[in-house]
Amino acid sequence: MKSFTTTILILGLLLLQPHSTQAQCKNFAKKICKLELAPYVHDGNYNAAILTEGEDAELFKTFYAGQEYRISICGSESLAKIEFLVMDVDRRVLYSNAKNNYATSWNFKVEATQQLIILVRVPSSGNSGSELASGCVAIMFGLKAE
């Protein structure tokens, strides 16, 4: 009877895992990623997802003239590095962190309001036969206050 109950509880925990993973992602974004925005003020938006090696995500956002921003991308420890690109609406690359030692943040200011696309990618580790890593990736924006 005891082992039957244990099996059921384990099964239940496995079924509820996606919810718990989201909760871990939330805590990761709040406790780790947000700190990297300082001294900029976090805008308050939450953009985070669980990504596996080889997967990517895109974020569309309008950036306003005169406002200085910091983009901070952070991934959980299970992911070796995260690549991110900032592109204009024609998908012309304006910034790539891969060309900057995989920097996790970038400060910029737009002279004219425009929509930009942030592409975040978890590169494949290339370890043949190994299990693909997955983890939380958060995209956060900081605002420079006067």
């Binding site: 059921i8 239940g12 003020v41 805008d43 985070a48 080889g54 995500a57 304006l94 190994s130 605002l143």
Partner: protein, 305 residues
């Protein structure tokens, strides 16, 4: 007794299967955690291709805090008469009205805080708390938040940090609970309030060459994001009603012309920020502006009634 216990366990298992099923079904494709090796992928190119193409799309609107910062930077002044009265909280009983007005109060409180209107900020945070509690977003704004605001009335940095934290709590709790439709309504409510404040604060409606009007015209870009964000939740009837309202705004924005030059990247100097150099030429006809202002006011009145 043992039979009764087994029955209860079977019921529990059934419940867990249902809950688990819902959680899996509601997950976005990219949230799936795949446990396969690269050798397995090589052997099955179909799986490999599907993983490569999995992509999560985020549409990010200016947060209430960002909206307030842009307003202030554009020369807006503070006008308390424009805020949604906190007494109105008693009118909001549906999820849609509470979500819209949580966004509206959030923008109002960000606006008030940037103009050092401490008491208004605290009152609006209390109103936001009532909306958040009503939506079941418990602990997003707790009493310690109000207390922190009260204890730091002269410290704008702490106030901004506190406001930012409450938005993050609200957004992340809704995401975690798979209530992204409600989250999108809150964001759109906040965005519309920013547009309402901005259009109401333009003093001379015949003089269109000022920074505030330019930032209002810029909302043409954000409106595209608003529509995409709402469309992601098109299975929700409340969202679709708001989508229809936003399409009417879009028809007016169509007559606002913005031509943009190509972006030139100017590298950062002395640890400063990189500049993305470009120029927009904005053409806003005063009649179009008035049409926009009237429509925004009409929608805002509808949402705060």
């Amino acid at each position: 007794m043992a039979t009764g216990f087994v029955k209860r366990i079977v019921k529990l298992l059934g419940l867990l299967l249902i809950v688990g099923g819902v959680a899996c079904k509601s997950e976005k494709p990219s949230d799936k955690s795949l446990k396969v090796t690269e050798d397995e992928l090589a052997a099955d190119s179909v799986i490999s291709q599907s993983i490569q193409s999995v992509k999560q799309i985020f549409y990010s609107l200016p947060s209430p805090l960002e909206t307030a910062l842009i307003l202030k930077r554009s020369g807006a002044v503070y006008n308390e008469d424009l805020l949604n009265p906190v007494e109105n909280v008693a009118h909001y009983n549906t999820s849609k009205s509470m979500a819209l007005n949580l966004g509206i109060y959030s923008t109002d409180l960000s606006y008030a805080s940037l103009f050092d209107q401490t008491q208004a900020t605290i009152n609006l945070m209390n109103a936001s708390k009532k909306m958040a509690d009503g939506l079941g977003i418990l602990n997003a704004i707790d009493n310690s938040v109000i207390q922190r605001l009260e204890e730091n009335i002269n410290n704008r940095d702490v106030i901004m940090e506190t406001i930012s934290e409450t938005f993050l709590n609200t957004n992340s709790i809704l995401e975690e609970d798979d209530r992204v439709a409600i989250g999108s309504i809150i964001l759109v409510g906040g965005w519309l309030e920013g547009l309402y404040l901005a259009t109401s604060l333009v003093s001379d409606e015949k003089k269109m060459d000022n920074e505030l009007v330019d930032r209002i015209a810029d909302q043409k870009f954000s409106l595209e994001t608003v529509l995409s964000l709402l469309k992601q939740n098109s299975d929700n009837a409340d969202v679709m009603e708001i989508y229809s309202d936003m399409q009417k705004l879009s028809e007016i924005f169509y007559d606002i012309q913005i031509s943009a030059s190509r972006v030139e990247v100017v590298p950062a100097s002395n640890n400063g920020a990189t500049i993305l150099r470009s120029k927009n030429v904005i053409t806003v006809n005063p009649d179009v502006f008035n049409k926009l202002k009237t429509k925004v006011k009409e929608l805002r009145t509808k949402y705060t009634a």
